[in-house]
């Protein structure tokens, strides 16, 4: 494995070089790019490091490394383990690796730097948070990832700050308060995205009555450069909110998106509007708590990273009334038949394929099987066909359930097999839509607007499945079923492997070509975070986050019983494997 300097530069000149390299590598996308000098986050396959949340800007969650492969994966053994402590709601994050150092965060935004070959701690940084605020939060205290760039590690906090830490020393470089979390209750749980000389991060939102901004921050100084409101962020968008509903519209962009260096475009997915359910039912265009399409909620948006200005968008679900948001952060960028495409999964269970140049819909295909909130989605236009709006009162068997046909964890695209690996979730729910009023004082509260109960789909049990499909057409090559939906991100590699960290605690490796299970290891607790691979001191490693207790995972005890009823929700570790 070729050792190389990472893409972590300290000067403006080097940043320009990085961009130039990024652009040139984009043009040779099919080349693979493993171990190439000057490889960057824009390299399609990331080489031996893993330097941004989705692996590279292309969101492939793929590594070209081949030392661990389908022929020898049976010899995979634990190399080292690191326990961060205080893993409330489990470790939900994805580690990063650069130049032999593994960086990761966990609950309460605690950040660790470890020797990537041995796990030896190099430094740690535990920010002091507003404990009273954390105790009052629902979507807390987990942190799902960090960003690296310009010699710093960047992490968001649930009390609304973005912090930069010196990558070598672990000392804080700057600490910028971006969200008034004391008032709005929410802050940051998603990973930031480093682009050129800026750090981009999206606030929580969804069923929280705010306007869910996405921020651009100067990586050198920590100064806020721009703020884009995912709720009524433009004059056009303001017209899609009746009355003053835009003031409490929700939205947000709580997972890191992707970046297209060729067009200098950041792609980001946004959360659902608030209240989550709408008692107006089919009359939503003119009445109810938020009349109109509610732009830019449940949308994919393309932003200029330098200005925060909107370039274009597509609203995947106009007037989302089901919590099937677009906040899933993966934007899988591909070239196919001369077309530059981006593939984006929507929580409702459909996968949208867009033209990268203008955001026009190229195709839509269905991944989850149990879907009845719409009869379909027009594959040519993306328009919803046969909406099932939910007026005040009781409704039975809405599919998928609020937990979605897909969750926020990422799939993986493997350029060698040409397949996109993604988890589908099969479950439904009964609900009663109830009229509510947003609570804003003294501190904003969840605005759900319904009581609900998860249930099995009619005629079958709830379950999950790993699909291997063509990312553009959706054609299925193979499928593996799981008794409960896996909730962790996936990894595929140049060694013809797909790794699935499952909810019972088994880490499983499959043949990427045919789905045959080749290896498994019991990590002793469910997985609900990330998985990566990297090279350190000439050896390939696999690192996975363990720990259970996300808000989706919390449903498993009532729905599936053991082992989830008794699974700890305050534990988690980074477990690292290599060949014996």
């Amino acid at each position: 494995m070729t050792r190389r300097r990472g893409a972590l530069y300290t000067t403006g000149l080097a940043t320009i070089m990085l961009l130039a390299t990024a652009c040139s590598m984009m043009k040779s996308e099919s080349a693979g790019g493993g171990g190439t000098a000057g490889a960057s986050m824009a390299a399609p396959s990331g080489g031996g490091d893993w330097i941004t949340y989705h692996g590279t800007y292309q969101s492939w969650h793929y590594s070209p490394l081949t030392e661990i492969n389908a022929d020898n994966v049976k010899k995979l053994k634990v190399a080292w383990v690191h326990h961060p402590g205080r893993s409330t709601r489990g470790l939900q994050s994805t580690p990063l690796v650069a130049d032999g150092v593994l960086y990761y965060t966990g609950s309460y935004s605690r950040v660790w730097a470890l020797d990537a070959a041995t796990g030896k701690p190099l430094w740690s940084y535990f920010p002091k948070l507003n404990d009273d605020l954390v105790a009052a939060q629902t979507h807390s205290p987990y942190t799902r990832g960090i960003a690296l760039g310009m010699g710093k590690v960047y992490v968001g906090t649930v009390d609304g700050r973005l912090i930069a830490i010196d990558q070598k020393t672990g000392q804080p470089a700057w600490d910028t308060k971006l969200v008034n979390s004391e008032k709005l209750t929410v802050g940051f749980t998603g990973a930031p995205l480093f682009v050129k000389d800026k750090v981009i991060i999206g606030a929580q939102g969804g069923e929280w009555p705010g306007r869910g901004p996405i921020f651009g921050v100067d990586a050198n100084s920590g100064k806020k450069l721009w703020e884009f409101f995912t709720v009524a962020g433009t004059d056009e968008a303001m017209k899609t909110w009746g009355g003053e509903s835009w003031k409490t519209g929700g939205g947000g962009g709580w997972m890191a998106g992707g970046y297209d260096a060729e067009t200098n475009t950041v792609w980001w997915g946004t959360g659902n509007p608030a209240p989550l359910y709408d008692w107006a039912g089919a009359d939503w265009k003119t009445s109810g708590p938020r009349p109109g399409d509610n732009l830019f909620t449940t949308s994919v948006i393309a932003l200029d990273p330098d200005t925060g200005k909107l370039k274009f968008y597509h609203q995947e679900l106009p007037h989302d009334a089901w919590d099937f948001d677009s906040a899933v952060g993966e934007f899988v960028m591909l070239d196919r038949d001369g077309k530059k495409l981006v593939v984006h999964p929507n929580k409702g269970g459909h996968v949208f394929v867009y033209d990268r140049g203008n955001g026009k819909v190229v195709n839509v295909w269905q991944l989850a099987k149990n879907i009845n909130f719409v009869k379909g989605v027009d594959p040519k236009t993306g328009e919803l066909i046969g909406r099932r709006d939910l007026p005040l009162g009781k409704h039975s068997n809405l599919c998928p359930a609020i937990a979605g046909g897909m969750s926020w964890n990422s799939g993986s695209y493997n350029p060698k097999t040409g397949l996109y690996y993604k988890i589908g979730q099969e479950w439904c729910m009964d609900l009663e839509v109830i009229k509510t009023t947003p609570v804003l004082e003294p501190q904003a509260q969840l605005d759900i607007g319904a009581n609900f109960t998860l249930r099995n789909p009619e005629g079958s049990k709830a379950y999950g499945h790993l699909d291997a499909r063509d990312p553009v057409t959706g054609d299925k090559k193979w499928e593996v079923n799981f008794p409960e939906p896996p909730l962790a991100s996936l990894l595929s590699t140049g060694g013809n492997l797909v790794f699935v960290p499952d909810p019972r605690g088994m880490l499983r490796a499959y043949d990427a070509t045919n789905g045959k299970e080749l290896w498994s290891h019991n990590n002793g607790i469910g997985h609900n975070g990330g998985i990566i691979t990297y090279s350190a001191k000439g050896k390939q490693y696999i690192a996975v986050a363990t720990g259970w207790g996300s808000l989706v995972g919390d449903e498993f005890g009532a729905l599936f019983g053991e082992p989830y009823k008794s699974m700890p929700k305050d534990s988690g570790a980074i477990v690292v494997f290599t060949l014996e």
Partner: protein, 102 residues
């Protein structure tokens, strides 16, 4: 199962049916559907993310304290968000739930 809130009922803060500061189960139902039902499923009638609340044998003191102070890593603290009357209304709503032993 009874429907505890209808479209005709007054909105939060506009209640004319209960004296100021008194526990009002209808007000509790509205707050519950806004904030608590996210975890306590079917309006607290069955277990979900959070435990089933219908028929709970916990004391009033325990319930009021749990709503106000929460449970670390599992339930938010609502002592600052909701007034004493709102917290008592939530308890009144929970006590009004029929336990049909599901």
């Amino acid at each position: 199962m009874t429907t505890v809130v209808s479209a005709q009922e007054p909105r939060q803060g506009e209640s004319g049916t209960a004296a100021p500061g008194a526990a009002d189960p209808a007000e509790g139902a509205r707050i519950f559907a806004s904030t608590c039902g996210f975890c306590h499923q079917d309006g607290g009638r069955v277990a979900g993310r959070g435990p089933k609340l219908a028929g709970t044998e916990r004391s009033d003191e325990f319930m009021l304290n749990r709503i106000r102070t929460g449970k670390d890593g599992a339930m938010p603290a609502y002592g600052r968000a909701f007034s004493d009357a709102q917290v008592r209304s939530l308890l009144a709503y929970i006590r009004s739930l029929k336990d049909d032993a599901r």
